[in-house]
């Protein structure tokens, strides 16, 4: 297979990236250099040192480009890179988890994109082919897809330019989010970290603490607060708190719009395709079978307005992440469908798995541990209330009482939310304190099951079950041991009897 007869250059030859690929590295470099120079100016660092660091980084960009080669054979994607340490990565098609297309704003005018290929292996096994034409990225994606499903397609068919069916061509639009939805998402979920990620980088890179900044700007709190009455100080604190909440909310809305602008979910022949993003457009295509679990997450604000996030979770690398909306989602490994109305949930989840978590009957956690904890904490609060201080101050006792009531209520709700439902081959674990969360997966996706019992739980014949899939671990505490055992035996039976998903 040679480049000439395909038009698009899928073939066995080793290729260099377009020089434009350096743009992406330069963009990263700028986001790193600007704070460095700023910091140098503010913290009276040596400007020459800063310039030298930037120079070395720039050299690294150029060398990185010069030493990068990739090729797409009939069975694998291969990358050779690195100038200090040469690495050769060979990622065979059957180990690919998902293929994404990334389009930063500075690539858009040039009509080029970055192709991202994720594997089932470690996080380092990720291939990024930067700055290729969109049509070419699409044809590579189609080629790999065709190879994976049966492999009857030859590279000639797949690489044949415009005639090639791409995931976008046969995709059917299923779900979108409007700007209003994203504003709501920004308010109910803290997405400020997306907007201020750069800012944090600045602070950490320059040893510049917020107090240094305040001092440099000539603000002297001692002078400001001297002679201020308690009332004025209190008002000032409240105003400052409100302002910071407002600012965080604003940043969060901004972050939400940046990450999820123009959110659209498509159904493809074998999976889902999601497009999102304002400055950088992300396109992620995941096969249905690659999704290990679905998480429905709801914060307390979500509960008030009847919304939730739906998260499709593929194989996760590294240490267990308890919150599926955290950094991993921002990186685009997990597919987060933001602020879905409760009645829309089924339409979204049906694309992957037919499940109605609200309609299921849940086995609750045993009441006994809840009572035990409630009594234990009540005694501690009572001891606080009995402190000598409380004889003079009724408000102290009242305060302790309020906190006790709140704590007990939250503990009760947390217990009440816990539940396990098994419907055919689907396991649902319900949890949450105010909002309701669900972890949903097929039994065949289980990697292992663990049963945990403390000494006391053993006496009470209670067990905690931990279900581990390749994407998440769901914990269901305080089940009757006999029930827990039969759940375990049933799950193991479905996994080990070789039932296929579907």
């Amino acid at each position: 297979m040679t480049p000439e007869d395909t038009g698009s250059r899928i073939g066995d030859d080793w290729r260099r990236l377009s020089p434009w690929s350096m743009l992406q590295s330069v963009a990263k470099l700028v986001s790193f250099a600007v704070p460095l120079v700023l910091g140098a100016a503010l913290a009276s660092l040596d400007l020459m040192t800063a310039a030298a660091i930037i120079g070395v980084a720039a050299l690294n960009v150029v060398l990185g480009y010069l030493f990068y080669r990739f090729r797409i054979s009939d069975t694998a994607v291969e990358v050779r890179q690195g100038w200090l340490q040469r690495t050769h990565l060979e990622l065979s098609f059957d180990r690919i988890q998902n293929i994404g297309i990334e389009e930063p704003f500075y690539f858009r005018l040039l009509g080029i994109v970055t192709l991202k290929i994720d594997s089932a292996g470690s996080a380092t096994e990720e291939v990024r082919v930067a700055a290729i034409r969109r049509a070419e990225a699409e044809s590579i994606r189609a080629f790999i897809k065709a190879r994976r499903s049966g492999g009857e397609a030859t590279s000639n068919e797949a690489g044949g330019g415009e005639a090639t069916p791409t995931p976008t061509d046969d995709a059917e639009l299923r779900f979108t989010r409007s700007l209003g939805d994203l504003v709501i998402h920004g308010i109910t979920n803290n997405r400020a970290f997306i907007a201020i990620a750069g800012l944090f980088g600045l602070m950490s890179q320059t040893n510049l603490s917020p107090m240094d900044l305040v001092r440099r700007l000539g603000i002297d709190f001692d002078v400001m607060f001297a002679g201020m009455s308690m009332v004025r100080l209190a008002v000032l604190i409240v105003v400052a708190a409100l302002l910071s909440i407002g600012l965080t909310a604003l940043l969060s809305v901004l972050g939400s719009i940046m990450a999820y602008y123009g959110f659209a979910m498509y159904r493809t022949s074998n999976g889902i395709l999601v497009k999102r993003g304002l400055l950088t457009r992300h396109e992620i295509h995941v096969e249905k079978s690659r999704i290990q679990s679905i998480a429905l997450r709801q914060d307390w604000l979500d509960l008030l307005i009847g919304r939730r996030n739906v998260v499709f979770e593929p194989v996760a690398h590294g240490p267990a992440v308890s919150n599926p909306e955290s950094a991993a989602a921002a990186q685009g490994k997990r597919i987060l469908v933001p602020s879905v109305r409760l009645q829309e949930t089924a339409a979204v989840t049906d694309e992957v798995l037919r499940v109605r978590p609200e309609a299921l009957r849940y086995t609750p956690a045993s009441k006994r541990p809840f009572y035990r904890f409630a009594i234990f904490f009540s005694i501690i609060y009572a001891m606080y209330a009995a402190l000598p201080l409380s004889r003079q101050a009724w408000w102290f006792v009242a305060g302790v009482a309020v906190i006790w009531a709140l704590h007990t209520a939250l503990m009760f709700m947390n217990w009440k939310r816990k539940g396990l439902a098994i419907d055919g081959d689907i396991v649902v674990v319900r949890s949450g304190i105010i909002g309701v969360n669900y972890a949903i997966f097929q039994t065949v996706k289980l990697q292992r099951i663990t049963r945990v019992q403390s000494l006391l739980m053993r006496r009470r014949k209670l067990s905690t079950l931990v279900f581990s899939t390749a994407s998440t671990a769901a914990r269901m505490p305080y089940l009757d041991t006999r029930f827990a055992n039969s759940v375990m035996d049933y799950c193991l039976y479905t996994v080990e009897a070789g039932h296929k998903p579907g």
Binding site: S289, Y490, P501
Partner: protein, 186 residues
């Protein structure tokens, strides 16, 4: 095609009824030896420091006493942990039971094992022991480690797991993440 057959729960093989094996008899003693040796070294260093430095008389007794108590406790718990550790091997899975205060039973289906690693530290080698590590896919890929096996058992178990996995995958056509591209009609 979606099917939803009834499963007679009572007739399922019960993991609780598996035949559990203890570790090699030398293993708990080895654990106890290592823990006590470690504690004694710390204690010796502490005593030397207390003799050389000028410290209050009370501390001279309390500090070594505290350290001694702490390491006696740690050694005792480690020894008991090793004594109570059990493993079971069935046709389709490997089970590890562990814990002194919290009893943990982890069942690892063999079809989900990604790879098996046999590890031998210098002390293991001296005593002819080995540790078997089982890895599965995704988050926290290390499922569990079975320590305190004799070299021979470790080797046989490793072979068995790999052989069984091949057989299972051949008959079911599934890979470890249950996501081979041909499956899932939707």
């Amino acid at each position: 095609m979606f099917t939803n057959p009834n499963v007679p729960l009572d007739s399922l093989p019960a993991f609780a009824g598996a035949e559990y094996h203890p570790m090699d008899a030398r293993y708990p003693r080895l654990v106890l030896g290592v823990a006590s040796a470690f504690g004694l070294v710390i204690l010796a260093v502490l005593v030397v420091v207390l003799l050389v430095k000028d410290v209050p008389a009370a501390l001279r007794w309390i500090a070594p006493g505290g350290v001694l108590l702490l390491f006696t406790w740690i050694s005792g718990v480690s020894y008991t942990y090793a004594r109570l550790l059990r493993f079971a091997v069935r046709e389709h899975d490997v089970i590890l039971r562990s814990g002194v205060f919290f009893r943990k039973e982890t069942v690892q289906p063999i079809s989900r094992v990604q790879h098996v690693e046999r590890v031998q530290g210098p002390l293991d080698k001296r005593f002819g022991l080995a540790k078997l590590k089982l890895y599965s896919a995704g988050t926290g890929g290390l499922s569990f480690a079975i320590p305190g096996l004799t070299e021979e058992t470790a080797l046989r178990l490793q072979g068995f797991i790999l052989e069984r996995r091949r057989e299972i995958r051949d008959t079911t056509g599934l890979d470890g993440i249950a996501d081979s591209p041909e499956t899932s009609p939707g």
